[in-house]
Amino acid sequence: MLIIRRRRGESIVIGEDIEIEILETSPTQVKLGISAPKEVTVLRSEIRTTRDVNRAASSADPDKLNSLVEQIRENAVTPEEPSSKNSPVVVPDNE
């Protein structure tokens, strides 16, 4: 990993057309200004993680659903959250 020390108001460039400027610093946060071409995706890394996890979750194995439910119910500390209050669409179990 390349490590560069910069102060507020200074910047770095990546390639020909990406520039990252240090706008503000505080003991816990850094505010960055990023100039990049439109076709370059700039994401917080947590959003990239969530994107990857969303993609993985979208192909969940339905065979595992029932054991998941048992697991959750056994671990439930508080009574079941009445999520039905949001008037969800309830599909009968057909049992």
Binding site: L43, E46, D63, L65, L68, I72, S87, V89, V90
Partner: protein, 170 residues
């Protein structure tokens, strides 16, 4: 009454006001703006987040607090705007807002829930957003605590199978 065809539940009828609108979609699914929350009594507390456009896009979610009873989330300004929450309004969980963690159920390996980026739904404005945190308190792959019976996988697997078959019949 409008209806959609879904992979998991067959044809599902719903009312227009049942839909949650995600103005930004979800990361990785930016073009998906309309979802239904579907519950099945036998599978509570699971909430299915079903796309109203793509039959085979259905996220399995759990209330974040059923994954971690102490789970806390502050709704950031950007997400408040999307949800139509007033600036200073303290979020009222369980009443006006729901906080759901998307579950990964891999064919191999243990199930996990995304507590880094929970889905927040407003029951009043019918808006939704995936509120990705910027702290490091929670993981996108939080393991679900194994239940006592889970430790005996042999005992559970037949149940899982037969349920999967039932699901397929619906």
């Amino acid at each position: 009454m409008p209806s959609i065809s879904t992979k998991q539940f067959g044809i599902v009828q719903f009312a227009e006001e049942d839909i949650f609108e995600f103005p930004n979609g979800l990361p990785g699914f930016e073009a998906e703006h309309r979802f239904l929350c579907i519950e099945r009594p036998a599978l509570r507390p699971v909430v299915f987040l079903q796309s109203t456009v793509h039959a085979d896009l259905c996220f399995i979610t759990l209330p974040a607090r059923s994954v971690d009873p102490g789970y806390e989330l502050e709704v950031a300004a950007e997400e408040r705007t999307v949800l139509g929450l007033a600036e200073a309004e303290a979020p009222i969980w369980d009443h006006s807002l729901a906080c759901l963690a998307i579950v990964c159920l891999p064919s191999e390996g243990a199930p996990t829930a995304n507590l880094l980026g929970p889905v927040v739904l407003s029951r009043e404005t019918r808006k939704g957003v995936q509120a990705v945190r910027d702290d490091c308190r929670y993981s996108a792959l939080t393991p679900l605590q194994p239940a006592a019976s889970e430790r005996n996988a042999a005992e559970l697997s037949p149940v899982g199978k037969s349920h999967a078959e039932r699901l397929a019949e619906v």
